[in-house]
């Protein structure tokens, strides 16, 4: 997840550091990593990523949010390796059975919420903080001071050279804050729609198709139809499907299954970016 100059990583499967390099992302911008659950395909890339960050001389702290146990795994690995990363790592264990604010960042908040898989597992919701109001610059004198412009954008009425400038007249409301929710791995849960209420973009796993729906609860996964159902109930604007079973070499039928219920559905494909436009 990228917001302005900030980067956030959700899950870190094997090879993540190579993908980060391939897609030319900057790891020094990355200060928060969220791990949904401790199955290998969601965290086995963390050892190498942290090791490489350390080799690259990182000194910025890194915050890790994950179910309990990851701290021990990392400690035991770095003990064996005899090279512990020499930047601070703050481990934030996820344990709450309810929705919980886990990061209050200048640009956004991150909330964790419980999913239901074979091991403790969490979804994450990113909510952009409100931006400043839009300045209607054409209505202002050209030499109107920068500091006062900022006050107007902050929603304050100001005075300049004996004249009143009410913010409501010289600014428009800010663009609505954007939001994203990430739900994997999980069976279909009715309450997920509440946690993801009104998000611009929802990522929801779709391991199976309805034809294999009997396998979903046994393995702790969802179908494409169920993912679409969550998006519909949440009132999401768009849906990304991912975490497909290897039994489906062609993903078009999964996409169609979801789109029949929720048309604005897309497939998570390697290297694909989804942008939520500022409106």
């Amino acid at each position: 997840v990228q917001l302005d100059q900030h980067a956030f990583l959700i899950d870190c499967g094997e090879g993540t550091q190579f993908q980060i390099r391939q897609f030319q992302l900057k790891t020094h911008k990355l200060q928060h990593i969220f791990i949904s659950h401790l199955h290998g395909d969601h965290y086995f890339g963390l050892f190498g990523l942290l090791g490489s960050m350390s080799l690259q001389g990182r000194d910025l702290p890194l915050h890790l949010y994950a179910p309990p146990g990851l701290d021990e795994v990392l400690a035991s690995t770095f003990r064996a390796t005899q090279i512990a990363p020499d930047f601070p790592i703050y481990f934030h264990p996820l344990t709450s059975e309810k929705e919980q604010l886990i990061l209050d960042h200048p640009a956004l908040t991150v909330t964790a919420f419980p999913l239901s898989h074979r091991v403790p597992c969490f979804g994450f919701r990113f909510d952009e903080k409100p931006r400043l109001r839009k300045l209607l610059a054409d209505l202002l004198p050209e030499d109107f001071p920068f500091e006062l412009r900022k006050q107007l954008r902050n929603g304050q009425d100001v005075e300049w050279e004996g004249r009143a400038y009410p913010f409501a007249q010289f600014t428009a409301p800010p663009p609505p804050p954007r939001s994203y929710a990430y739900c994997t791995d999980t069976v279909y849960l009715p309450q997920t729609a509440q946690f993801a209420k009104g998000v611009d973009l929802l990522y929801h796993e779709a391991t199976f198709m309805e034809a294999n729906a009997d396998k979903a609860p046994l393995t702790g996964h969802s179908t494409a139809k169920q993912a679409a159902q969550v998006a519909l109930e949440a009132g999401a604007k768009s849906l990304i499907l991912g975490h497909f079973s290897v039994r489906y070499p062609d993903l078009a039928p999964l996409l169609q299954e979801a789109q029949s219920i929720f048309p604005a559905t897309f497939l998570a494909e390697e290297g694909k970016n989804f942008e939520i436009a500022v409106t």
Copy 2:
């Protein structure tokens, strides 16, 4: 290392399971994995490889040869993941300060020998077992029994239909057994040439060039020239250089540096196979 239908893996950096898939190797043939030392670039791919083997329903046992500590790391990781591989894993800790036979396999033997790096580190030598003698089939009657042919190849004189068939007359000596030694990561050590004496193929790390030779002992690595020196002293037939520092975007100068001392030198390149011909 592949010998007939047998496969052996030396070191397992992050992404090894993807490379195995890309190069269409079969993991069920893999029953022995050798880890030189516990730095991440030599074993962080093991978690994912073992996890995937388990998901694929493997039940064949797997033997792991590595410095002590890897067993704990794996146990702690699989405890967190709550999915331990459900095939037997036998851990063989490498501790000897001398050359040590660690695997006596029907097709070959594997010997570990100490290297010198920043953590305990081992090289491995593979020696093919002698093959059967070559049958000079043209000299035999067409209906000469299979069982007796095998006895001749085993070096036994046989009799058939009242006639003597001395093995020396009806077979030629077997091809010389092939051998391979793998040495990484390590500073230059004079004794490495003894451990790799006469091998057909030697892999030796060449992290640096001589121009940066001052960095080699500090970091526990060798130069291309030193790798060539080992090959020369060992009387190896060919040398593969690998483990290059990222400071060398062009590897041609490293190759030239080694070839000036040991001409039959090659670069370890991703996906490249080196075949030792049966002579």
